[in-house]
Point group: C2
Chain length 907, copies 2
């Protein structure tokens, strides 16, 4: 090492502050300090030294300083790692000496000897960079075990099986990461050992078998490397430290850093920490606990423990752990200490703590303290309680909740105590859980649920608009095809109905009345359970937990409403949905899809008559029959949303969606419409499109058949005028879909304005209304300035905008999107989380250009993204006026909007 290098290293070391430097021998000699210690109530480092000590090292130091009894240990700094690389993977001079010294300190503090055959000090060695990096080295446990020290461990634990198992695991791990012997060699040996012992699992291997295995492992090391497995603990330690340093630049870690944009000086620290054992007899134990109930949020100390056991025993579930309340009786002092630490940490970190602890011969050690994971329900309770207790502010409470997670509170969930048999996994399209008997047709779903009051799950290859009634009747929907914004997914979410889509692991044989998943066949009538939050398909009936809207939750949302700037509306197509939305706090309807009104039993035949019409007159005749239905729907929705705006989108889907495709349906419908089958099929064929997504739909329909727009406008304005006349404040906003060119908007608007004027004159009523457009075609973003000259509002239809911006058909992405996500080509499904770089660029363009022409233009979003927190944050940044999402997402959106505003404020 050159003097310059030393000087540089020294500078780096000094930077974080020389706290405790006087105690370090190396520092005393004026050379940089390589190693920081923690233990016996004091630590050289502290939490804010993350860059130097790594996240783990800094945290251990902090805990120690807080007086938490942490097993003592050393942290070799990240600066050493950088020097290691600067020197061509060599240790800086003095490191070896300092490591020996500090290990002697550790022996003293732990009261054990490193390599001592009677009372051996064993250590764990862990990597730990400034930022957590799963790509780096795994933990090596029980380093220090040798043929000699294993004897001491047996004596101390009185458990030879445990000791040999620990030893063989240590050799296995060490050989893999330090000696780089292919893992498979050891696994093969293990397999043979099981075969010899006729054991099905490793757990069935006896102490003797494990001891023999240790011998085979050491022989394997000899054969592979030509050397003995190191029996000198310091040699083991040096090897492990090198392995940690090397792991900083292994391929996984490099990729991880690239993908997560981790740059900077870097390097990893190495944490060497004394092992403690909860299985050293009846005064030893191990356990996990939470400072509050993670499931309900109640302020009760919660957890479980096992006497004379290791952490793995708690997890493995072979012995039944006792509730932590028992600890109070069995070891009152330990309990008091543990409780005190927990509460102290909770206060310090201002959040519920998840603690791992081990009691070694009566001494309590905290192995880990981290923020406790919790259910949504608990999160809400805890956050509001913390506010009440005065430890955090309302704003902190708001930012602490995972907005996406609270969706759970609005849907039934699977009882966490259940042990479900998952038979397949699809995309979690609409959250919640549902139980029911499998059925394969919408027709049957309706029949079984209405006539026989059965709970059914509608299972289909894919759904189409014809299935709507069946979807409505079912408890949940499962499809084998389609993405997160496929028909089933969108409709399911809109209905707040549990839905799993694109489950390619199942093969649906509708005609044979069954589906298969793996080798399993599930027949019509069999019970299944769906978990729409995870995408799991579960065989049989699993108990569900019903949602509850607690007072804390309402409180939290009230705070959110004060904090947010974005309005929150709902996408709702029926008066029922509108009411649900309003109850959930929606401040209007951002998207009312009129076509969903075309599917009722009385209406569909008329819609079909309209489509089959040979000329404008015949089409108008059919449309006139639809008018009263549409008008009544609008009246009810507008009334349900009295004094709040309702954005009504004109007919959008291609007409072929209203015609049947199956031969038997066609025969039935032809008869109904009194046309020949050939005629009906000719119409179906003539409406066929290669790419319906890019076809004859949206405003293109209303422009080619202006009579459709006329009828819809008439329904809207007659409904509005009648309501207003009756004293109901109805506020329609007419939305023209799929506009790409200003001339499209102008032409469609002209019809609407004319009908509005005529209707107001005829009814002698004056009503307020807006006419605007969806921005869902990329071209609309480019033409936004000219469109905004005429349009009074823009609503971003980000589903379609995402489809066209990426060139991804949402119904077909199943073929490559999973691969893209797996390979990190995309970090997120853009149909779930708004793509800020691409789709967002065009949204920003539309906002800027639109405002240029009309400063006060009203801006919203009605795509599915309107209910997703990250996307809502982006909408806030863009300065939109509102987001609109499915009624059941409204609370999520209210919270996410508040979080976005608070984040903005902090900047």
């Amino acid at each position: 090492m050159t003097p310059q290098e030393l000087a540089m290293l020294s500078k780096r070391h000094r930077a974080p502050g020389p706290r405790g430097a006087s105690r370090a021998p190396a520092a005393r000699r004026g050379t940089p300090r390589f190693i920081y210690t923690f233990g016996a109530g004091k630590a050289d480092g502290q939490a804010r030294m993350k860059e130097l000590l790594g996240g783990k090292g800094a945290n251990l130091a902090e805990m120690t300083n807080l007086g938490v009894p942490v097993p003592p240990g050393l942290t070799i700094t990240t600066a050493v790692c950088r020097t290691f690389y600067d020197l061509g993977r060599k240790w800086p001079q003095g490191l070896e000496a300092e490591l020996s010294q500090k290990m002697r300190w550790l022996e003293a503090v732990a009261g054990k000897g490193f390599g001592d055959p009677v009372n051996p000090l064993l250590v764990s060695v862990r990597s730990g960079a400034a930022q957590s990096m799963p790509g780096m080295m795994d933990t090596i446990l029980n380093l220090g075990l040798t043929d000699a020290t294993v004897k001491g461990l047996i004596a101390k634990t009185d458990n030879p099986r445990f000791a040999y198992d620990a030893y063989r695991r240590f050799i296995q791990m060490y050989s893999d990461v330090v000696l780089e012997i292919p893992r498979k060699r050891f696994e093969d040996e293990l397999m043979m050992a099981r075969a010899r012992a006729k054991a099905a699992t490793d757990a069935e291997l006896s102490a003797g078998a494990l001891q023999a295995l240790v011998e085979r492992f050491t022989r394997l090391v000899r054969e592979q490397k030509g050397v003995e497995f190191p029996q000198d603990p310091m040699e083991q330690l040096r090897g492990a430290v090198n392995a940690v340093f090397n792991s900083w630049n292994n391929e996984r870690a490099i990729i991880y850093r690239r993908l997560n944009n981790i740059s900077g000086a870097g390097g990893t620290a190495v944490n060497v920490q004394a092992m403690v054992f909860g299985n050293m007899g009846d005064t030893s134990s191990t356990g996990v606990c939470f400072t509050r109930d993670p499931s309900t949020g109640q302020d009760v100390f919660y957890g479980e423990y096992l006497v004379n056991a290791q952490g793995e025993d708690v997890v493995a579930g072979i012995r039944t752990p006792k509730p932590v309340a028992e600890l109070k009786k069995e070891f009152p002092k330990v309990y008091q200490q543990l409780y005190g630490i927990g509460k102290r940490l909770e206060k310090y970190f201002k959040d519920v703590q998840d603690l791992e602890f081990t009691v070694e011969e009566g001494t309590l050690y905290m192995l880990q303290a981290r923020t406790g994971k919790r259910t949504a329900r608990a999160a809400v309770t805890i956050a509001t309680d913390f506010v009440t207790e005065g430890s955090i502010s309302r704003e902190q409470a708001l930012t602490r909740i995972n907005a996406a997670q609270i969706d759970q509170l609005l849907h039934p969930t699977i009882d966490p105590k259940a042990k479900p048999k998952v038979i397949a996994k699809g995309l979690p399209a609409s959250p919640g859980a549902a139980v029911g008997q499998v059925t394969f047709t919408a027709h049957e779903a309706v029949a079984l649920s209405t006539e026989k009051s059965q709970r059914v799950i509608l299972v289909r290859e894919e759904t189409s608009p014809e299935d709507i009634e069946g979807m409505n009747a079912a408890q949940g929907i499962l499809t084998a095809r389609g993405g997160m914004t496929s028909h089933a997914a969108v409709v399911g979410r809109g209905m707040g109905k549990c839905c799993v889509v694109g489950c390619s692991e199942i093969t649906v044989r509708e005609e044979e009345h069954h589906f298969t998943a793996g080798g399993l066949t599930v027949k019509a009538g069999d019970f299944i359970t769906l978990n729409g939050t995870t995408g799991e398909v579960i065989l049989g009936e699993v108990p569900l937990v019903e949602p509850s809207l607690t007072g804390s939750f309402r409180q939290l949302l009230a705070w959110a409403d004060k904090a947010r700037r974005l309005g929150v509306r709902a996408n709702a197509d029926t008066p029922k949905d509108a009411k649900v939305a309003r109850d959930f706090g929606a401040e209007g309807i951002g998207l009312c899809r009129t076509e969903h009104m075309f599917f009722g039993d009385e209406r569909l035949p008329v819609v079909r008559e309209m489509i089959m019409a040979k000329d404008t007159a015949a089409r108008k005749h059919a449309l006139a029959k639809l008018l009263p239905f549409q008008k009544q729907d609008f009246k009810e929705i507008l009334a349900a949303m009295e004094s709040l705006p309702v954005t009504i989108r004109l007919l959008d889907p291609p007409l072929h969606e209203f015609l049947p495709t199956a031969l038997e349906d066609q025969e039935r419908v032809a008869k109904q419409l009194r046309v020949s089958l050939r005629e009906l099929q000719d119409t179906v064929n003539s409406l066929h499109e290669f790419n319906p997504m890019l076809g004859h739909r949206g405003c293109r329909l209303g422009l080619t058949y202006p009579e459709i727009n006329e009828m819809q406008a008439q329904a809207i304005f007659e409904a509005t005028c009648e309501l207003v006349r009756d004293g109901v404040e109805a506020m329609p906003e007419v939305m023209i879909p799929l506009v790409g060119h200003p001339a499209e908007f102008r032409a469609a608007k002209a019809v609407i304005t004319r009908v509005a004027q005529e209707t107001m004159q005829r009814t002698r009523t004056k009503v307020e209304y807006l006419v605007g457009t969806m921005i869902e075609v990329p071209r609309a973003a480019a033409a936004a300035e000219e469109i905004a000259r005429e349009a009074e509002f823009f609503s971003f239809g980000t589903n379609d905008l995402t489809q066209m911006t990426f060139g991804f058909s949402r119904d077909d992405i199943g073929k490559f999107l999973p691969h893209y996500l797996r390979e990190h080509i995309l970090s997120d499904d853009p149909f779930v989380k708004l793509d800020r770089d691409g789709v967002g660029t065009f949204m920003r363009m539309a906002v800027e250009r639109g405002r240029k022409a009309r400063k006060t233009i009203k801006l919203g979003i009605c795509g599915e993204h309107g209910g997703e927190p990250s996307s809502i944050e982006f909408c806030h940044q863009l300065g939109l006026h509102y987001v609109s999402c499915s009624p059941y997402r409204v609370p999520v959106a209210r919270l996410a909007a508040a979080q976005a505003a608070l984040k903005d404020k902090r900047r």
Copy 2:
């Protein structure tokens, strides 16, 4: 009129200059001049006074001043029209007096009297704004005819039938546009007259019948308006002038101005011009002529005439006109005068003139002189001849040719002398003409053309990639479905093969071996002729004219090459196409679609094996068999384009395009691949997509199956290395399709670069190559900066970019695009003419962002727009480096690129 108004009017009038003012009586009195005169060799106005006199009036003035004998007349200025509106549709004071005076001048010059029953002066009244506006009033002819003057006309022409026909037409027209009596009333009378006379057409009505009709017409006017049809010529004139003024603000005219962005002060002039008659006996005649042959461009005086006839007689084709050479013998003086005028105008306007003339009793009058329309062949010859003659510059010659039109020179065309029987009209997808016998399957097309040497036309509902061999074998292709960029259209243009698509007027019944058009049934084996330039489908064999590449044409293109800045490449997939492209002057290949190589007889089964592969190993096995084919193709193409760049696009279409859809084909293919039918169908089903355009294609294929990219890269680099080793300068540019996200590009490029390195090492050859991407997904424009960090070139795939920018599926637009064009929602088909406002916005974004990251990035376009002149101009403006189009469009692109550069230079 207030003094202020008069002052304003006066100012406006003085502006254009007071030339000839001294002769105008009104001006003499110090009031503004309302009317300009032309005739007797002198005119008040001139060509540059278009704003005041309108285009027509200014032109008539200019011709008069040039000494061309134009029938004398008056022009009431556009300023008068504006004042007319300022005054609430009233005449300014003094106009009436000035009109009377000028009419007396006209009488004097014409030697006839307005209202004179013996020698009547008849006039035409025409509107004429500064910019030509078809929305305004039609011409009123023979104004001045009354019950009295019609007698004079009879005496002069000795043709009572003509005189009464002229009179009844005058009444009809005048009543329509001036008196605003519904046109239909007169048509009904005419119909009844025909019925009474048992005449099939108006031409069969006798003089007596027409005289009776005049009486009925005047009675009709009396009934409708309660007044007599005006018998005072001055009253007729005042009415006509008002009608012209009013027509400026009729709905058609307003829409026309809005659509064509005509703004400014405006107003229309009114031209009142003496009528002359070529049917006043044997010293009268009428004719049309061109100063050069409009069909060949040869410098010969060309035209035809009829003695004692009216212009309509020439057009009607009842009498056979004589060639203008006869005129030289019959009336040598008139001929000399006409020839002299023609040549003088040609010199003056520096272009071939199309002249209409009438000789009235020995006196020659020029009724119209305009730039002569010509065939593409003539245009080229004339332009180069004019340069040789020194009357225009090379640059002028280049700008004068309609670039789109010269496409004609590269394809057979229908003999202009033929009288084809058009039975249907589709979209003109690929120009030229083709004759052949109808066949409905690709298979039969191949069989008939190769085995029986028959010329065939392939008629299909739509084509698919499976039809390629048949399309290649056919003379032309006709489809009932699809747009200008449907499969048939794109492939047809690529092959330079005549193609009519989207012909919805025909119903194809492939299984019944016929198609119908209107009531007509065309069976397999019947001859039809296609006109790919107009979209016409013609029954029977029509004679064709073969194209010729004249010396003038080559000369012109050589000049174009000097003038242009844009490079011109070709889209070519085969060595044959590559050679054609190079012969046409292509400077490289901008798009070589590798998938077209997958369709050969030997290859398709292997491609299908690859698709059916159950795992990567099996897929690699099949790909290995494809490798030699691909490599050989690339070798030949790269060799054909030696020393020029060849952009090779990796596999793009969705895999399902390679599998058969018809059951019988599936059965055959399943047998061939030795798989069960069910297995094949399962694959077809699993590959099915709802919107294949937005599906699993483009780079998504090569990313999910990297082995496909590997094989293609290997084929490219082995071909290149072998050529380079043999001294052939091969320049591949590897193009990754459908990239939307930088990570897609990075991942695909990594494979290509690796294979390139490996291949170069293995073959010990160093070759130059580029890796770039198509910009065809809107997102790519947004992400262009980051993509350009890795991509060495961008090539705009404007077909797909247009689809996704508009959200238009090119295969489905037939359902609404015709309506959009008809209703002026879109001014052009965006798949034909690049949409500058929308698609162009994203192109500009990509160019700017791409250059930010890589200043020297190579930029081109390979969408169909690359061969369309307006789009080429836009590419020039964007600063692209090259356009790439089908081989047969290369000359068009060379010329259009030159025109764009010249236009740029003039700015």
